[in-house]
């Protein structure tokens, strides 16, 4: 039961207490119960899933976590997951066939868990794996899904959930309401919009093993090749140094961007132009079609700032841009004939940069490194 007081202030400045109003909650009112898909790799929980857990706790009801994987991995992950603050129950399901999380193979497990279940919401990170899986499951249960939400609020009295999410590459924000008639609300969470759920050693989480669901899959896994890096993971790094088209080639990209990133303990990112030109790996791309980051520091080196790139980084706390060439790059590379001639320093990156320096990056970056290390 929630009680609240209403205080009215009179024109005289005196306040009067009108009395207590009581808002009753009935036991029969459907309370939200979220199922959070906890993803993992190499025995570690993905940080995006920790943000998804935070989003799930904001619904205000119990939160059940789900860990799926091989028999070797799941026990390790479960040990870590049971310490997470906010989880009430932890489900885990392991099977040799879950070693590779193909949507065709694990969607039957999700369907089993979600059919006539207590769950009202299904939550995950907006990761490539969950993006492939959740819409498939949602459609099979004949419910819609929301992608990449940045806020979530559940109204228990109307049993509706209201979300915000970026649309048009982050150039508009839509507020969307799931009606009470929608029994299952699927959504993926933009990790940078929610803090990671912390550990709580006093947490008491109820654990339950779930039998895997055998299925014949039309798809088989052939191979996975991951980009090895000793640097922090791009999507969660507190600092990111990104390079663009102006780095000219893979060698100068490496020689210029990596030392600065290492000095700052930062992850390396890139614009689409740099990735397409082969300066670095695809997985480093920041933008609408790559990773969305929101670090404390984002340094954009030789990036002009096309809309699609800004979509991936403009929520960073401090944006620093070093660029000499201007939107000439954009007009040449990205939007032929769509922009008129612009002056140097007019690159759109400078419209979002907190600190911008119009200068040649080959001279500037070594100087920054030298002066930062002093």
């Amino acid at each position: 039961m929630i009680s609240s007081s209403f205080i009215f202030t009179l024109r005289s400045g005196r306040s009067i207490l009108l009395g207590k109003a009581f808002v009753r909650t009935y036991a029969s009112a459907p309370s939200p119960h979220a199922l959070v898909y906890l993803e993992h790799r190499g025995g570690q929980l993905d940080s995006g899933s920790l943000s998804a857990l935070t989003a799930a706790t904001q619904l205000g009801g119990p939160v059940t976590g789900l860990v799926v994987g091989s028999q070797e991995e799941v026990p390790k992950v479960v040990e870590k997951a049971k310490l997470l603050k906010g989880l009430t129950t932890l489900l885990h399901s392991s099977s040799p066939s879950y070693a590779q999380l193909l949507p065709e193979i694990i969607s039957p497990l999700f369907r089993k868990l979600l059919t006539s279940s207590p769950y009202t919401h299904v939550v995950s990170a907006h990761s490539s794996s969950a993006k492939s899986l959740l819409p498939r499951v949602a459609a099979q249960l004949d419910v819609p899904a929301l992608s990449d939400v940045t806020s979530v609020e559940h109204d228990g009295s109307t049993n509706t959930t209201t979300f915000t999410r970026p649309i048009y590459a982050g150039n508009a924000v839509a507020t969307v309401r799931a009606p009470s008639s929608l029994s299952l609300k699927f959504f993926t969470v933009r990790a940078t919009a929610f803090d990671a759920a912390p550990e709580d050693s006093s947490a008491s989480v109820e654990m339950k093993a779930v039998d895997p669901v055998d299925t014949s899959s039309p798809t088989e896994h052939v191979s996975t090749s991951l980009t090895k890096s000793s640097r922090p993971e791009l999507s969660t790094a507190p600092r990111v140094v990104s390079g663009g088209r102006a780095l000219k080639n893979a060698e100068t990209f490496e020689k210029t961007i990596y030392p600065l990133a290492d000095l700052l303990g930062a992850a390396v990112g890139a614009s689409r132009a740099a990735v397409d030109a082969g300066y670095c790996d695809n997985s480093l791309q920041v933008g609408q079609t790559g990773k969305v980051v929101a670090p404390e520091l984002y340094m954009a080196i030789g990036i002009s700032g096309a809309i699609q790139h800004l979509a991936g980084m403009k929520d960073s706390k401090l944006i620093v841009a070093v660029n000499k060439a201007s939107a000439a790059y954009i007009s040449a590379m990205v939007m032929p004939l769509k922009l008129g001639p612009l002056q140097d320093g007019d690159a759109p990156i400078f419209q979002v940069a907190d600190v911008g320096l119009v200068a040649d990056l080959y001279e500037t970056v070594p100087q920054i490194i030298e002066k930062m290390s002093q």
Partner: protein
């Protein structure tokens, strides 16, 4: 003599008309959506899907029996179909919705595509659906997975390489995943969604644009298909994102480094 055992493939490419990717969009004054009185074009990921279908035919020749493009949209979406026909698709299907109708959700689109695929059964069926991984307007990125889900088909999302073996009725797909690449092998029929790096779409030549005008476009309504495209989620408001107070320039590296230090950014490596 051609071996007759090889089953000929029918490809379906769903495409969407969106605001052009280079347009700086504006939220309308009523905050109900964005100003759509601007240049539109085919969703960039869908152009890649059309291109991939055409390249498959160039590679597999007669083994590709048909390439059909389908769109759900207002009357003007027919232009987008014509563009795909000019690139090399054979025919189009236009599920026409009124200009004022709210944008359908991926679930509705997936069900409409399912209805289309079922209608195609008598014409030889659909073996391969190639579509964009996301539309650049709603940025949902769900339709392909939902279609594979409702059909019970294999799916290969975020494809950066596609190899189809018509004899084995299989597709090998390299997918872009977080942290790297993954290769999967899918039995046909399959839904493939395209990532940017799958290919570089061609421009339609003038003769092909002229030819495209003669290619057939079938027009049907959602109700003909028995599909309800009404969104389930209610869009309450569309707003501008918070503005950054950026735009400050410094004159030298010293000033830049001073600003960094001021913000508490220091070197972690000595």
């Amino acid at each position: 003599m051609r071996p007759s055992a090889v089953r000929l493939l029918n490809i379906l490419v769903p495409i969407k008309r969106t605001i052009d990717y280079a347009v700086k969009i504006r939220v309308n004054p009523n905050q109900t959506g964005v100003d759509t009185n601007v240049k539109h074009s085919m969703n960039p990921f869908d152009e890649i899907a059309v291109e991939e279908a055409i390249r498959l035919r160039e590679k597999l020749k007669d083994e590709i029996k048909s390439i059909k493009v389908v769109t759900i949209g207002p009357p003007k979406a027919a232009d987008t179909l014509r563009t795909a026909l000019a690139m090399g698709a054979d025919s189009g299907i236009h599920i026409e919705v009124p200009e004022s109708a709210p944008a359908p959700e991926p679930l509705g689109v997936a069900k409409a595509l399912k209805a289309i695929i079922e209608r195609e059964e008598e014409k030889g069926g659909v073996d391969l659906v190639i579509m964009g991984k996301q539309a650049i307007d709603d940025d949902a990125g769900q339709t392909g997975q939902m279609l594979a889900g409702v059909m019970g088909w294999a799916q290969a999302t975020f494809a950066s390489k596609l190899v189809v073996d018509t004899g084995k009725k299989e597709a090998s797909v390299t997918r872009e995943i977080d942290g790297g690449l993954e290769e999967v092998r899918c039995k046909l029929p399959v839904v493939v969604t395209t990532d940017l790096r799958l290919n570089e779409p061609r421009y339609a030549s003038l003769p092909n644009i002229m030819k495209a005008k003669k290619k057939p476009i079938e027009k049907i309504s959602a109700s003909d298909l028995g599909i309800d495209l009404t969104p389930i989620f209610e869009t309450i408001q569309v707003t501008e994102p918070p503005k950054r107070t950026g735009g400050q320039k410094v004159g030298s590296v010293d000033e830049l480094v001073a600003k960094l230090k001021e913000a508490g950014i220091t070197a972690v490596k000595s």
